[in-house]
């Protein structure tokens, strides 16, 4: 597995797109930090951008890599290695190279800004941790979708739809259900629904960390009471990890049964 991981990682970090992705974060980070005198506003903008962008890029890169390396994967399948090592190695290669672009791209502006001396360092660490989680999650789901669909176009469409659902439609449904059932107590429902969507969960975690949960009104208080505690943080990290582990296990299961 590590051999496959090593070479797909090397292959990917030399691709032009990795540089574009890295430069984008570098630019975004520099502009927001240096041309903005309110740090917490900068973090919120940064959060809003990466929370939508990371899942999209993870999804697209995951699906594209799978379909592009199909013939090479067939060559690897004929070698004396386990199937699961090939796919999990490739998945980690994609996810880690994307995470590296994110961490380096945002890390450099943070360091230049002198964040090591400031109290906000943990906000930024949380930003990078949730960003990495989102990359791992959405790349894994993209690989799953690609494994189930031989047809490239279908695979692409399903994964984009999945991203759209998680990033946009889910929130709409969530809000509508909150309005529809407003006469009932919705505390645990809204906490559950947030835990179920990695994008929402990441957003709430970052907002709470920034101590601006008051902006969220009563819901903010509910969230603060749950996610603000160390138990809540633990549950959130566990939920994010489950979002990585479940697709990975399914990938392991599916790739052993598939015909190539």
């Amino acid at each position: 597995m590590f051999k496959i991981l090593k070479y797909s990682f090397f292959d990917l970090i030399r691709s032009r797109w990795s540089y574009v992705y890295l430069l984008f974060y570098l630019l975004l980070g520099c502009v927001l930090l240096f041309l903005n005198n309110d740090l917490s506003k900068a973090v919120i903008t940064l959060m809003n951008v990466i929370i939508i962008l990371i899942p999209l890029i993870g999804t697209i890169f995951g699906v594209m890599y799978y379909y592009n390396s199909k013939e090479f994967t067939e060559l690897l399948l004929a070698q004396p290695i386990k199937r699961s090592s090939i796919f999990i190695g490739q998945y980690l290669g994609v996810a880690l190279s994307l995470s590296m672009s994110l961490i380096i791209g945002l890390g450099i502006p943070f360091i230049l800004y002198g964040l090591f001396q400031s109290n906000e360092i943990w906000d930024f660490v949380l930003l990078l941790v949730t960003g990495t989680f989102l990359t791992l999650i959405f790349t894994a789901i993209a690989f799953n979708i690609a494994l189930y669909n031989e047809n490239k176009i279908k695979g692409f469409s399903y994964s984009i739809l999945f991203w759209l659902f998680m990033a946009v439609i889910y929130d709409g449904l969530f809000l509508m259900s909150l309005i529809a059932f407003q006469s009932y107590p919705l505390d645990s429902f809204s906490i559950g629904a947030t835990l179920f969507n990695p994008i929402d969960l990441s957003r709430i975690l970052i907002i709470l960390k920034l101590d601006i949960s008051a902006l969220l009104g009563y819901t903010g208080a509910v969230f603060q009471k749950f996610f603000g505690t160390s138990f809540g943080l633990l549950v959130s990290i566990a939920a994010l990890s489950l979002w990585v582990i479940v697709p990975l296990l399914n990938m392991y299961r599916k790739c052993r049964k598939k015909d190539f």
Partner: protein, 235 residues
């Protein structure tokens, strides 16, 4: 070395292999032929464990291959389409495959033979189709395994490379290996193959050497003999 019994495989509702019985034990070059859609690729992929059969047994070196991956150490496979990671160099790719197989390979000789030295540190996405196929051949033949499977090995090769390839295959045969290949170029098959396995609609329709095939079909040459096999089926 390879023994197959009652191998069945369906893709969805479409049965591709309908009970293949095949035993390849003596050394030499076996050509797997058949019209499009007769199951050649599926058969090869089943031997390699890439396609999982629905029914039947498949033994390689007397070991059943299901849920086993170590047996592939004894097989060198040349895939039909050569497509490699775009941003690795030829040298890195060769190192990767050696790394994956955990074995040293005699790549130097093959690189020299196919004159690939100038391409060694070029990225794979800059190579032409024929050069990629040469790299593909180097990757396959640099290991010394008892079984070699070649899927359309002549694709995209220039005449000189083709001559080198033929020599290489003959060399491997002289070492006492089993070589399975598919090809649509009948003159290549006629020159190289010791034995023909003709698949038709998912079954082994003919197995034997070229002489026997010519006798059975009463055809003047090999190409007509193959054509006759198909026509007989239609009648």
């Amino acid at each position: 070395m390879i023994s197959i019994e009652q191998l069945h495989k369906k893709f969805g509702k479409n049965p591709v292999l309908k009970g293949i019985d095949l035993n390849i034990s003596q050394k030499g070059i076996v050509a797997i032929l058949g019209p499009n859609g007769s199951g050649k690729t599926t058969l090869i992929k089943s031997i390699l464990g890439m396609v999982i059969p629905d029914k039947g047994t498949l033994l390689v070196a007397n070991v059943p291959i299901n849920k086993n991956w170590k047996y592939r150490d004894q097989i060198d496979y040349l895939p039909q389409i050569a497509n490699f990671p775009a941003n690795l160099t030829v040298k890195e790719l060769i190192r990767m495959i050696k790394d994956v197989r955990n074995r040293p390979g005699e790549d130097k000789r093959l690189i020299k033979l196919f004159k690939l030295e100038p391409f060694l540190s070029k990225k794979l996405n800059t190579l032409s189709g024929g050069t990629k196929q040469k790299v593909n051949i180097v990757l396959t033949l640099m290991f010394d395994s008892p079984i070699i499977i070649l899927d359309e090995p002549t694709t995209g090769l220039d005449p000189i490379a083709l001559i080198h390839l033929k020599e290489l295959i003959k060399e491997e045969k002289a070492k006492g290996k089993i070589i399975l290949m598919t090809s649509h170029i009948m003159s290549f098959v006629e020159e190289m193959a010791d034995e023909i396995v003709f698949l038709l609609e998912g079954k082994v329709y003919f197995k034997g050497n070229i002489e026997a095939l010519k006798k059975q079909t009463e055809a003047p040459n090999f190409e007509y003999a193959i054509a006759n096999l198909l026509i007989q089926e239609d009648v």
